[in-house]
Structure formats: C-alpha cells, structure tokens
C-alpha cells in the first residue's frame, strides 16, 4: 500500500483554519460552561432548598442525554419550536456548554465540599462572615483541588468539538472529511487529523498536571 500525504500538505492552510475554528469553539465552550457550571455548582452548595431542585434536575438531565442529541436538538428542533435560529457554530457552542457545564458544576460542588468543616469554623472564629469564609478560605482551596478535574474538562471540551462536524461547522474534523472525500486519501487525511488532536491535547493536559503538582499543597488542609 502506498501512502500519499500530499493532499494534507497541499491543503495545510485549509486544515489549519479548521484547527482555528475547533479552538475558537473550545474557548467559547469553556467560557460558557465555566460561567454556567460555576453558577449551578455554587447554587447547589449555597442555594436554598427550592433552588437546588431545578439545579439537580438540570445536572441529571445533561448527564443522561448524549451531547450529540443535545446538539442536533438545538440545531434542528429548537428553531421549529421557538423560532430561535442559531448558526451552526453557536448551536455547537451552546450545546457543548450546556452539556459540559453539568460536569463543571459537579466538580465545583465536590471541590467545595471536600474542604473540611474545620476550615470554615476557623474563619468564623476570627469573626469572618460566611461570605468572607467562602471567598477567602474555602474557594481558593477548592479551586486548587479542582485543578486536575478541570484539566480533564479542557481535554474533553477540545475533543467534543469534533461532534460539531455533524451540523457542518467547518472545524478540523469536518474539513478532514471534506478533504478526504475530495482527495480519495482518507487514511492519510484522518491520520493527520488524529495527530493534530493529539498534539493539541497532550501539551495542554501535561501543562495542567505540572501546574497542579506545584500548587497541590495549597489545597491540602
């Protein structure tokens, strides 16, 4: 069997732009899921009982529906139901954010609850308000503890952007499919795509791991 990587080499610009779109989608998804996940996670820990019910329902829902289903629902069904039309890119960003925010919320909740009660007591004993204890003592420690889990969220987010290809967002996988079809070189093109994802993600996860090892002691009470 002969390999010919020239389609990849000739269209590197086309693929690189696809990588750019994958990363843009990742960034928006991370921003969206962090904001939403933080709100949901904090609401679950510190909110009133009646607030917790819908939040838990949201988390359970998002964890039990495949993200691909959420995506096609938002892109194909939502416009028919609500008249609200989102571009493929923003449909993907919203679907991924909704999905990943549920996991972010759980990470935040677990992180906060893992800081032991005595830390709160120590803050209160100094005369701090509950809000000050949360802001100055609990959250900083919880954030350190959450770091490895956030590392996984970053890589899951980047990987999951590939599903946006089903609604024709011109990201890396979609462009690889197009290129593979045109050049009749699926092996070479998809191998290249695989390699690109790998090269994007390995340094990102290593970096977070390294950072965590340097700061882990700051979260150990």
């Amino acid at each position: 069997m002969e390999f010919d990587f020239s389609p990849v080499v000739d269209s590197w610009r086309y693929l690189l732009d696809g990588v750019g779109i994958s990363l843009m989608l990742s960034v928006w998804t991370m921003l969206g899921s962090l904001a939403l996940g933080a709100a949901v996670g904090l609401g679950r820990v510190y909110g009133s009982a009646w607030l917790r019910v819908p939040l838990v329902f949201y988390i359970d829902t998002m964890r039990s529906i495949p993200v691909l289903v959420v995506l096609v629902w938002i892109y194909f069904a939502m416009p028919l139901l609500t008249g609200l039309n989102l571009s493929p890119f923003w449909s993907a960003a919203v679907a991924l954010s909704l999905h990943i925010a549920a996991y972010v919320a759980e990470i935040i909740r677990a992180g906060i609850q893992s800081v032991r009660e005595g830390q709160t007591r120590a803050g209160l004993a100094l005369g701090m308000s509950t809000a000050q204890v949360v802001r100055v003592i609990v959250l900083p420690q919880a954030l350190v503890r959450m770091l490895p889990a956030f590392g996984s969220i970053v890589s899951v987010t980047i990987k999951d952007t590939a599903i946006a290809s089903v609604i024709a967002v011109p990201e890396l996988l979609r462009r690889s499919e197009t290129l593979a079809g045109q050049s009749f070189r699926p092996i070479e093109v998809f191998t290249a795509a695989m390699l690109i994802y790998f090269l994007l993600l390995v340094p990102a996860t290593r970096l977070i791991d390294l950072l965590y090892r340097r700061v882990a002691h700051l979260g150990r009470s």
Binding site: G118, R121, A122, A125, L126, S129, H217
Partner: protein
C-alpha cells in the same frame, strides 16, 4: 446607647464569661446539662474530663459556633447575641485554637496571621503583616514567616494558629486540646507559648489532657462528665484532694497519682 461602667481594677475581679445553666442538645442527646461557670479577667481555667463529656461543645458555644439550647452565656456582661452581625463582633473579641490547627493551607504563616485583621477589620495589608510579623516573633517563629503550613511541624503550625488568634487582639482565648495532635517533642514549645500568654494576664479557657500544665498554669480546673461539671476548684484541690471518686478515677486513668 448603653453606658458601661468602667472596670474596677485590683480588688474585685470582673467576670469575662459567665455560664448560667447552659444546656446544649444535639437532637435528643444532651451534650451540656445546666453547666454553670464563671471566668474572671486574667484567669486561666482548664477543662478536663473524659472524651465526649462536652468540653469542646462548651468552647464552641462560647463563641457561638454552636447555638445553645437553654440557659445563658454572658460575655463582658451581656448575653451572647443571636443576630449574625453581633455574633461576629463577639467572635472578634475571642480567639480560638483548634486541636487540628486548621491553618489555611493556601496562605503563608505570615498571611495566616494577617488574614483576620485584613478581612475582618479591613486593616491595610502592610499594617496587618507588620502585626503578624510581631506576633510570629512572639511565638518564636520569626524565621518561618514565609513558610506554608505544609512545610511546618505540628508544633510550629499550632504556634502560628495561636498567633493568628492573637492577631484579632482578643480579650479571651479558647484552646481546644491544642497539643493533642502533636508529637511529644513539640508539645512543650506550644505549652510554653501558652504559659507565657497566661503570665501576660490573658484570660484563657483551655481544654487539655496535659495535667502537668493544668496543675502549674491553671487558676481553676473544672472536671467534666456527661455534659456536667463534676467539680471545680483550684488545681491543688482537684489534683490533691478530689471530692468525687469519679474525678479520682479519671485522674488515675491518665496516670496522675496526685
């Protein structure tokens, strides 16, 4: 506005804390059963007694970390408030030291001590750190200001914790078994700091199993059992001449042979 009469100096001791028939229930369980006790300014009161007898509970009720179920605790002549804002004001005037230190792991020793004045009193950082530096020197940790808790021994951590409590310039210090989690060789350095504090005239309530410390430093010792004070009196009285057989049992159990 309530006027507070100036405290008399000398002759009559002024009470800092008065416990009047204090009860604390956890569900059905009676953790404190009509405990009455008085702590005067400058006094060191040691609480001893078996595990589960309610000593920690009494300390936590003292600074309202736990609400009491009955009776009254008077601090500086006033019943403990129930409004959150006022409770915080009271807590600022009491320092608390925990068995497990509970230092903040994400802050240096210096900032552990400075964080109270900064957060609670709104003191500027440089000023708070200055105060913290002086207090760390006082507990013999001048060379550890930049260390993080994870790099300190248990005895060092507990001394930072004492400095942290002192940074709020409290009128009374509450110690809950401050040396129970320590290696034997570092217990002494913590007890020495506490002894020095007592000699400066700090009002202190100390839950402890260190009978030698109680014997030497305490003005009064109260023996707890099942949420009540079995007996209390001077250290001589309690250690040489305990009134109840239960106290004798407890002391001999700890290897104290009078």
């Amino acid at each position: 506005m309530t006027m507070i009469a100036p405290k008399e100096s000398g002759s009559t001791p002024s009470p800092v804390l008065i416990y009047e028939k204090v009860r604390k229930l956890y569900g059905e369980f009676v953790a404190l059963d009509e405990v009455s006790l008085r702590v005067d300014a400058g006094e060191v009161v040691c609480l001893i007694g078996p595990s589960g007898s309610g000593k920690s509970t009494l300390l936590r009720c003292t600074n309202a970390l736990e609400p009491i179920s009955g009776g009254t605790i008077y601090f500086d002549g006033r019943a403990l408030p129930s409004v959150d804002r006022d409770i915080r004001k009271v807590r600022q005037r009491m320092g608390m030291v925990f068995q497990n230190f509970e230092l903040f792991p994400h802050k240096s020793a210096l900032d552990n001590v400075a964080i109270g004045p900064m957060t609670v009193l709104g003191m500027p950082k440089t000023q708070a750190r200055e105060r913290a530096r002086a207090l760390l020197a006082k507990v013999n940790l001048a060379d550890k200001v930049d260390s993080f808790p994870s790099n300190l021994s248990g005895g060092q951590q507990q001394r930072v914790a004492i400095a942290r409590a002192l940074a709020m310039e409290p009128e009374v210090m509450l110690f809950d078994e401050p040396t129970s989690a320590l290696d034997p060789e570092t217990i002494g350095e913590v007890l020495n700091v506490m002894k020095a504090l007592a000699e400066e005239g700090m009002t202190m309530i100390v839950v402890t199993h260190e009978m030698a410390f109680a014997r030497r430093v305490a003005d009064r010792v109260a023996v707890f059992e099942h949420g009540t004070i079995l007996e209390h009196g001077s250290p001589e009285q309690i250690f040489e001449n305990p009134e109840t057989a239960r106290t004798r049992d407890f002391l001999s159990h700890l290897g104290w042979d009078g």
